[in-house]
């Protein structure tokens, strides 16, 4: 379903739209308060952008350096060209360790690769341990936001879900009680897990280590208890030096939730003695995006979600309307690179207001890239004939002043003289909820010419 259709359905419940919009605007507001208190914030953003741009321009060497150092640390390093290979690699590691019960902390990459259903098809239990992810897992839905996976769920809905799956008592959606029950339920899973899978927020080339940021502590509860830790990362997660974490850890949480830092920023380098640590490095379309000068900056993304919180369209249509692993503005410039036809409606789900680009901590020119994808989509995917033809016609009319005046006259006459029932009829989408202006008798051009005559 294209974004417009899905968004229209979402908007049939105006109360829910208002609730969803307010919830996300509040997160944007917290972000604003937090960043306006940082001296040199705009410089920090420029540094984030510059470090990522530099890294991409030397990506192959940094990947080699990262692998070298990780291997020295006693970590096993795997490479996956696509999502399928990633899944096969993870499965083979789990099989090697006879792992049947797996706990997983938030990793959008594993969502992208559809890891869970792949493992479950092989009778492996995968429990998403981030509370938001656990909620959508139980609801059998994909996450609707990359940082706040269950932002679309009311507390009453969570209450019912937990009653059904966790055996909790009805509690009017009391978040304290529900979180406490989730803590007990997930603690059992951590204790019994045979393996832990985590994502990677930042991978450091000069140490071979990586950082995982959480507020809940679920990544650590998994990784430090299970005998095997598998960390999955996209190639673009790399940064050159540990000192660069100073820039990125100052940018990330403030942009995401308005906190100066997440509760836990865990720096992994070597496995616990006797335990095993694996890193799976994944391409899955990233080197392809790297080849596109107009779109390669989208690989700077540090997955903070700020663009989603600020986007007036995302807030009023919800993440599921995008039908993409990563929704919102950043998703709309990443996804067409993977499947142009499937995601062709996404770059048009925007007014190009530019707010996303201004909140992006690594200064991705999101709104410019949305505009550029539009030019490609109209050329490379089938367009409705009427749209193509009318754009061509517009182009011709606007090239010639005489034709422009002629057409304008007809338009104005129609607006002035045709009955409202004709003007606001079904084909006129504008007229569904809005009035059109009254067609003036004279265009500005005519008025000016007459004024000159009178002088």
């Amino acid at each position: 379903m294209n974004h417009s259709k899905a968004a229209t359905i979402f908007n049939t419940n105006e109360k829910k739209v208002d609730w969803h919009d307010k919830a996300l605007w509040f997160v944007r507001h917290k972000r604003d308060k937090s960043v306006h208190a940082v001296e040199g914030w705009e410089t920090l953003r420029s540094l984030g952008h510059g470090i990522k741009a530099h890294t991409l321009s030397n990506l192959d060497n940094y990947l080699i350096q990262f692998e070298e150092n990780a291997l020295k640390n006693g970590v096993q390093v795997h490479w996956a060209i696509d999502g399928d290979e990633h899944n096969r690699i993870v499965l083979s590691i789990l099989k090697e360790h006879n792992a049947k019960k797996v706990v997983k902390s938030k990793s959008m990459l594993t969502e992208e690769c559809h890891l869970n259903p792949f493992l479950e098809a092989d009778n492996i239990e995968v429990i998403d341990t981030d509370l938001g992810e656990r909620i959508v897992q139980l609801a059998k839905e994909p996450p609707s936001h990359i940082v706040l996976p269950a932002i679309h769920k009311t507390k009453e809905e969570v209450d019912e879900l937990f009653q059904e799956h966790l055996g909790t008592k009805p509690c009017d959606g009391d978040p304290q009680y529900l979180t406490g029950e989730a803590r007990k339920h997930l603690r059992e899973k951590f204790i019994k897990a045979d393996a832990a899978i985590t994502g990677v927020n930042f991978a450091i080339a000069d140490t071979g280590g990586f950082v995982v940021c959480t507020n809940e502590g679920n990544a650590d509860m998994g990784a430090h208890l299970a005998p095997v830790h598998i960390a999955c990362m996209g190639i673009e997660k790399l940064i050159p030096k540990q000192e660069h974490l100073g820039v990125f850890l100052r940018l990330l949480a403030r942009s995401a939730t308005g906190q100066p830092i997440t509760t836990y920023s865990s720096h992994f380098k070597k496995p616990i003695k006797g335990n095993k640590m694996h890193i799976v490095i994944v391409d899955n379309g990233r080197t392809e995006q790297l080849s596109r000068p107009d779109f390669r900056a989208s690989l700077h993304c540090i997955r903070c979600g700020a663009c989603m919180n600020t986007c007036p369209i995302y807030r009023r249509s919800g993440g599921h309307s995008y039908d993409a692993t990563i929704p919102g503005p950043i998703g709309s410039i990443l996804s067409p690179g993977k499947d142009l036809k499937k995601h062709s409606s996404l770059p048009f789900a925007s007014t190009l207001c530019g707010s996303c680009s201004d909140v992006c901590p690594v200064k991705i020119d999101i709104h410019s890239q949305l505009y550029k994808w539009r030019q490609i989509i109209t050329k490379e995917t089938p367009q409705p004939f009427v749209k193509k033809a009318s754009m061509k016609m517009m182009g011709k009319i606007f090239a010639k002043p005489m034709q422009f005046e002629r057409v304008g006259k007809v338009a104005r006459w129609s607006l002035r003289n045709l009955p409202n029932s004709v003007i606001n009829s079904k084909p006129n989408v504008w007229g569904k909820s809005r009035d059109l202006p009254i067609g003036p008798k004279e265009s500005f051009d005519e008025w000016y010419k007459n004024r000159k005559k009178d002088e």
Binding site: F26, G40, L44, L47, I51, L56, S57, N58, L59, L63, E67, N73, W79, A80, R88, L91, S92, L131, G132, I135, L148, P149, A150, I151, T154, K155, P175, T179, G180, R183, L186, R187, F190, I191, N215, E216, G217, N218, D220, M221, H224, I235, P240, Q242, E243, G246, R250, P260, I261, T263, Y264, S265, S266, H267, K269, K270, T287, E288, L290, S291
Partner: protein, 205 residues
């Protein structure tokens, strides 16, 4: 590594990815220079640290000695049964004997954990803990209540300075902890106490 699926490619996935990265990367872009002076905000480092720990849901107290810390902790958590402290001279506080612990899972009922840190960050109330300060990695996460000791002069202003200090260390594992575990995943209502510690108490010594 892959389970026997044959591919036509002669290259390994690693070489394929690296060759594509090499071919597709843009011309070299220089690393930007970081001038820390632009971030100076003349805030009092200690006050800022305390404010940020408290905003993150933690508590800050003063202490005069290790013994004093232990006695304050006992007063704050009178019902705690399973306790462990790495502080010198606090062995009587410990109810856990690490010799008898076979796996970290056996510590799931740990009520109080007292650790020492040598680095705090004012801008976010974060405290650094590393392998050499934690007997078992899972401890600061599995403990119900986390107590951290810090000397006032080990607090730096920003993360940049923190990493300058860490540059000379080589730790297998380390973590910045800012306040107790938390989540707002249920309708954006902040709940303190997710999977990690339910509380964090910081003592200045």
């Amino acid at each position: 590594m892959t389970n026997g699926i044959k591919t036509e490619r002669k290259m390994s996935s690693r070489d394929y990815i690296l060759s594509r990265a090499k071919t597709n990367k843009p011309d070299a872009i220089e690393l930007p220079k970081i001038d820390l002076k632009v971030f100076d905000d003349s805030r009092n480092v200690l006050n800022e640290f305390i404010k940020k720990v408290e905003t993150a849901g933690g508590n800050v107290f003063e202490a005069t000695s290790n013994e004093n810390v232990v006695s304050q902790v006992k007063a704050i958590f009178p019902d705690a049964k399973v306790n462990f402290s790495t502080l010198k001279g606090s062995e009587s506080f410990n109810t856990v004997n690490f010799e008898s612990i076979k796996r970290p899972h056996d510590l799931r009922d740990l009520d109080i954990l007292i650790l020492e840190s040598d680095l705090g960050v004012a801008e976010n109330g974060a405290i650094w803990l590393k392998d050499s300060q934690i007997p078992m990695r899972v401890l600061p996460f599995i403990a119900k209540h986390l107590v951290l000791l810090l000397k006032k002069d080990t607090i730096v202003t920003f993360m940049h300075q923190a990493y300058q200090k860490l540059a000379s260390e080589d730790t297998d594992f380390g973590v910045f902890i800012s306040g107790p575990s938390k989540t707002a995943d249920i309708e954006q209502s902040l709940v303190i106490g997710a999977h990690g510690a339910l509380s964090v108490t910081v003592f200045f010594i």
